[in-house]
């Protein structure tokens, strides 16, 4: 992976100037590289990783295993497009193994998610079955440990152990 990309994947808020210093290139070059990555569709967006357990009225998350019948010629693309279009859906992955699509969904309440699965997902043509797993707690997201005070720097803990 290009170095600039791995830097941004760790911290999307690095400025072009900071990227330039880190990589030993000019600010203009850094800006151009980021632009190019965006233009090529490699960088698709910049998000914020939150510890939702600290947010009031944070959404409920679920992972739904979807078994589907692939369509002639279109394979899984057609059903994937339909699932992607649903607003409550955060992520959709095609899986190898016991089921076909892993669908990550969020809603205001468990009830809302349940209704969404029953009415919007399960009823899609070519969906054979759904298996819903509610997420109880998130410990780590996109490489970031969510719990406060937990450190990936073991050095300091050893010195006071």
């Amino acid at each position: 992976m290009e170095k600039i990309l791995s830097l941004l994947r760790n911290n999307a808020r690095l400025s072009n100037r900071e990227l330039a210093v880190l990589l030993g290139i000019t600010e203009e070059e850094a800006a151009a590289k980021v632009k190019a990555l965006e233009k090529e569709g490699i960088i698709k967006g910049y998000l914020t990783v939150c510890n939702e357990s600290k947010i009031e009225n944070a959404p409920v998350h679920a992972m739904i295993e979807l078994k589907v019948v692939p369509m002639k010629e279109l394979g899984f693309q057609d059903i994937a497009n339909r699932v992607v279009a649903l607003e409550a859906v955060d992520s959709v992955y095609l899986m190898a193994g016991d089921y076909d699509l892993a669908v990550f969904v969020k809603g205001k309440t468990m009830q809302e998610v349940a209704t969404f699965v029953a009415k919007r997902l399960a009823t899609l043509d070519s969906v054979l079955s759904t298996n819903t797993h509610f997420i109880l707690n998130k410990y780590k997201e996109d490489g970031i440990i969510l719990e406060d005070g937990s450190t990936q720097d073991i050095r300091s803990t050893l010195k006071s152990e």
Binding site: L7, E18, L22, G24, Q152, R155
Partner: protein, 387 residues
Amino acid sequence: MSPIKFNERLSKIPEGVLHKYLELATDPSILSLSVGEPDFPTPFHIRQAAIDSIQLGKTFYTPSRGLLSLRKEISSILSRKHHLEYDPVNEIIVTVGASQALEAAFITLLNPGDEVIIITPAYITYVPIIVMCGATIVPVVTSADNGFKLTPEALNAAITDKTKLLVLNYPSNPTGGVMTHEDYEAIAKILRLKEIVVISDEIYSELTYGVTHASIAQCDGMREKTILINGFSKAYAMTGWRLGYMCSTPEIIKNISIYHSNAILCPQTISQFAGIEALKNGDEDIHHMREEYDMRRRLVIDRLNKMGLPCATPLGAFYAFPDIRSSGLSSMDFCSALLQSKKVAVIPGNAFGAAGEGYIRFSYSYSLQHIQEALDRMEAFMNELKK
């Protein structure tokens, strides 16, 4: 009962500034930049080799000089990376970290009254051990103007009839300075004519940026006078494994071995198996870590200079050694004030000898986020000072 009489030399060890400073920096909420060890975990395949040795029951004593298979790997990596040839059978000793190699070398070579030249600012543990041997320290002061290199003039001025040892440490902790092959040639020209043994502590040899690591042992006629010391702590992020080595002539190694074999019997067996794996398959790990350090280095140097703390660009190790004299404060006062007002811990330069007064040591073996936060706070501190 009369009080215990300790070795009188203990009281001759100069009181460390570091000790005093660390007493101030005990609050766990402090953002530290003081640590001198890699922040990366030991690469997993290296840890696995140690686990394997435990599972296979390979947990007995080894030869006191270390496993021959490890010494062969050491010999081969020195040849491959630094074009230095050492015979694994009689020119290499595996030690408990580079620290024990240093201790064994000092004890084996020094007599009371001998003089030892050290290049200052210097790594903190040289002085106490040399003092325990009853030898005298002769500090050579280096400066930021030439990247903290040892010049032939400064060396010449320090040499007397009593000079027994010269201790080199490039890439340097704390300054990040390096010596090139040409720099060493100029020094070697003097040393070839003298009966001075060189201890070359090259623990940061794998961490150079944009320059190739050079060793004085590469200069004609110097291998015979040099004890090369290196280890696994910095290159492979293996500090807690306590594994190092020393290389020299059969005569020197034979004599050091007399002390070494009695002092420790042998280095840790489990660590030695990890060391073999590190040398065999660790090149990529080194490459990855060096790239990370290099990025941090550029960020740190850029920002320190911008905030009014001029800093010679370090070409090795993972330390920046900025000049803080523009603050009008002494090193200790600067560090105490920074600690109090911003909860950032850096080490006062004079902890590394009087030559470090007016400087601080900033370790960048921390995550980018950690370093950025610390730099932000230091910048705020500098802005408040200017008001």
